[in-house]
Every structure is written in C-alpha cells, then in structure tokens.
Subunit: 257 residues, 2 copies
C-alpha cells in the first residue's frame, strides 16, 4: 500500500446536509487508500432533548449514562454512519461503517470514575492494524464512528479526535499515513480574525515559539499538541484545514521537520 489518508469530520460538516454531501463527493474523489472518522454530537444532543434527557457536558465531553449511551450509539453508529455510507456508495466509494467493536478493530477501556465520572466514556487502548489492512486490501474504505467497546460486551462513547488519532497511528503501521482534521477555519491562524493568516507549517521547534509568543492559544493548544504527538509516533503529517479545501493544498501542516 502506497499511502493512507485518514480524515476527521465534525459537526460543522455533518450537521448541514448540503455541506456533508459536497464533502463526501470530495472525499470519494481522493485517490488511494482512505479512512473517514466522524462525530455527530449535535444530532445526539437534539435526540437526547427530544427524549427528555438532560444533556450534560463537562469540558466538552458528554456525560454518558446508560440512556445517553443508547442515544449516541443510535446516532453515531446508526444514523450518521449509515447515511454517510449510503452517500459514499452513491459517489462510487466502497465504504464500510465501523464501530470499534466491529471486527474488534478498536479496543478501549472505560475511563476511571475519578476525578469526574463520565459514565460510559472510554479511552482507546489499541487499533488492530491487521484487520484494518484486511479491509483496505478488500477494496473497502473504513468509516468510523466514535463508539468503541471494551471487549467485555460494553460499548463506550469515545472522543472522535482521539479515535482519529489512534486510527491514524494504526494506519501508519501499514503505510505512510497523512491525517487531516477538517476544521471550521482555513487552518491554524496567526490572527484569529483573518482567514488569510494561515500558518502553513508547524514543527516541534516552531510550535515552541508560536506558543511562547501567544500566537496559538485556547482550544488550538491541545489540537496542535495531539498532532505533534501523532507525528512523533509515526503519522507522516497532520493537516488542519477547512472541509471545502479537502482536495487542494491548503491549511496548516504539522510535521516533524
């Protein structure tokens, strides 16, 4: 296998059918092996509210009791995943939808109840690269929701960015892997107000300066640090770009040097 592209889309793409359709056509047009990871949080919150459940988020993560787990399993692994698969099939991309339980491809463990009890929320242990390779070699394009399992019969709600990162690391053991986070902005910006101020390239060395100078801050810090960890661990590049720019050279590339 020459190369694998792993792409993450979040709510800004999923929640608007027109945007999603346009994105999936672009995704289908990417040459070579590819993998998609998707969120679906807003739809889950909407269904929770329709069912009279309270939506409880702590630090951006959903507190997931049994009823919430059912909702996110239905929305992420069912509705959103299967709609994406059907649309990709229509665009000529032979996609297959996966939770971590399918083919035991991603194993997770339930997060400790302290300091915060998130309920059925998991952190990822490992991705089965051999199974991933089998699916890719069968001509399939894996599409992951962020529903994983503990191997003991329990489904777990995981963070889609973490799933993406783990899947990209698993893919990097098969072939050189590029990871793309589709983002609501054009990339990492020098000036948050100016979409033309995209930082083209971030390396461990340049990141230290950017952080010291206060150019990256807030929510971008964990994003970039996770990306730097991914490239340190074997992913070739991580790119942060707007979903519209999927097929062109654009956005911020995070790499080792």
């Amino acid at each position: 296998m020459e190369q694998i592209t792993v792409i993450k889309i979040g709510g800004n793409v999923i929640d608007n059918e027109e945007v999603l359709n346009a994105f999936l056509k672009r995704f289908a047009a990417i040459e070579g092996q590819k993998i998609l990871v998707h969120g679906g949080g807003k739809l889950a919150s909407r269904l929770q509210k329709e069912l009279g459940q309270e939506v409880q988020m702590i630090d951006g993560r959903r507190v997931t009791d049994r009823a919430t787990l059912d909702v996110v399993t239905m929305v992420y692994a069912g509705l959103v995943n299967k709609q994406i698969i059907a649309k990709l099939q229509a665009a000529g991309c032979n996609a297959i939808g996966l939770s971590g339980a399918d083919g035991n491809i991603v194993r997770a463990h339930r997060r400790a109840a302290k300091p915060i009890d998130y309920g059925f929320v998991g952190d990822i242990d490992e991705v089965d690269s051999t199974m991933l390779r089998s699916l890719l070699e069968a001509g399939l394009t894996p599409v992951f929701s962020a529903i994983m399992h503990d191997g003991e019969g329990t489904l777990l709600n995981c963070n889609a960015d973490s799933v993406t990162q783990a899947v990209a690391l698993g893919a990097s053991r098969i072939a050189p892997t590029d990871l793309v986070f589709c983002f609501e902005k054009k990339g990492v910006l020098r000036d948050a107000e100016d979409e033309r101020s995209v930082i083209e390239r971030i390396t461990p060395a340049s990141y230290a300066t950017l952080k010291a100078d206060g150019i990256v801050s807030g929510g971008m810090i964990p994003k970039i640090e996770n990306a730097l960890r991914a490239v340190a661990e074997g992913v070739r590049t991580v790119r942060i770009k707007h979903a519209d720019d999927l097929l062109c050279e654009a956005g911020t590339t995070i790499c080792n040097e």
Copy 2:
C-alpha cells in the same frame, strides 16, 4: 470454505436481554462460518412512540416515512446491531455489523408506491457474494440488520426474513449453506397447541399434502413457501426451530428431498 450457517433472530430473542445473551453465547459456539441477521421491530416501535411518531403497520410491514427511516436506522443498524457485536466479541466471536450499504453488500430498490405506499421500504435485488466471501475469509462473522440501500444514497427498510433469505442464497454461492430461522415455537407443529408435535422434515412433496390437509395454515404458509423457494434456489436446508435449540438437532428441516 466447508459450510456456512445463516441464522435469523427476531423480536422474541432481541427484546429480552437475558434471552439475547444466552442466544449469542450459543451462536458464538457454532463451529465454522456463520452469519447472523436480526430484526428489532419492537424497540423501533417503542422509540417511535417516545418521539411522538405514529407507528403504522400494514400487513405486518412498517410504513416508513423519513422520520421512521431515521428511527429504524438508529435502532436496527445502530443500537441493536452494535450491542450484538459487542456481546459477540465478548464471547470470542469476531463479529462485524453490516447494513446493506456497508461494502455495498446488499443492494435493494424502493418498493413501488402502488398499491400501498410503504415509503422508504425496499425489496432486495442482490447480495455481493464476493464481498461476503472476503469478510468470511478475513475471519469475520457478518451480522446484518435489515437496513439496505439503493446504491443512489438512500437507505431502505427491508424485511429481515427477506434479507436472511437473500444472504443465505448469496452464501450458497460460496459454500453449502444451512439457514436457521429462530422461532418462538419448537418448529412447524402438526398441532399448534402441542410443542411436541414438531414436523421433522418438509419437502416440496410433503408440503403439498400438509397444506391440502390444512395442517399448515396462516402465517406458516409464507414462511414454509419462502423456505422451499430458498432450497429450490440453492440453500441446502432451512430449519425452523426455537432459539434455545440452536446447538441441538431439533425443529423442522425444510429441504429438497
């Protein structure tokens, strides 16, 4: 591949967690290649009611408007399918959950709106035996919900018995295939009131007599006629038995001679 067993479970197994757990342990213990197809109708009706939707059934089939399609996609392809997969993984069976859209493995078409407009309800066109073989050869146990697609981006709600039959026919092009319908009774009964009156074997010839004598009637007629069609088209045997009897010789076997 020596042989494939295709098994269908319906609401009588799925709706009771204890019964489902016991069934899945037995299913995991079946030797050789196997495939599971599941329903989930009662859970879908429950969620429809919770969401204030009207459940509309005609001749046992669910009228499926857009909102209903979302519910059945969530419940069948999401909640029920992924719970089954996680439980099978815990039982040591490397299961993978599939809708027809996944890997484009089952293609369907939307049923004509006349005489009855069922909405997003589909009838099956074909099963991709090559893809099915790839998954089985990768060591996977396919688990199908009855959500299929039309290849043009639209998901379709299909009858789980029809999906089972189509999948079994597809499997029969790979290896000799036995189909098992798990049923709430011990098999086809001579006397509906007596669970000990199971008819062991039905062939096209004996069926003619059973029907003429009025021994099979009502809902059993389409079940047996579909089974006879499956064996005529290449499935080795169709067995109708109680889910509890999965691992033992029991129930009614429908075969060519």
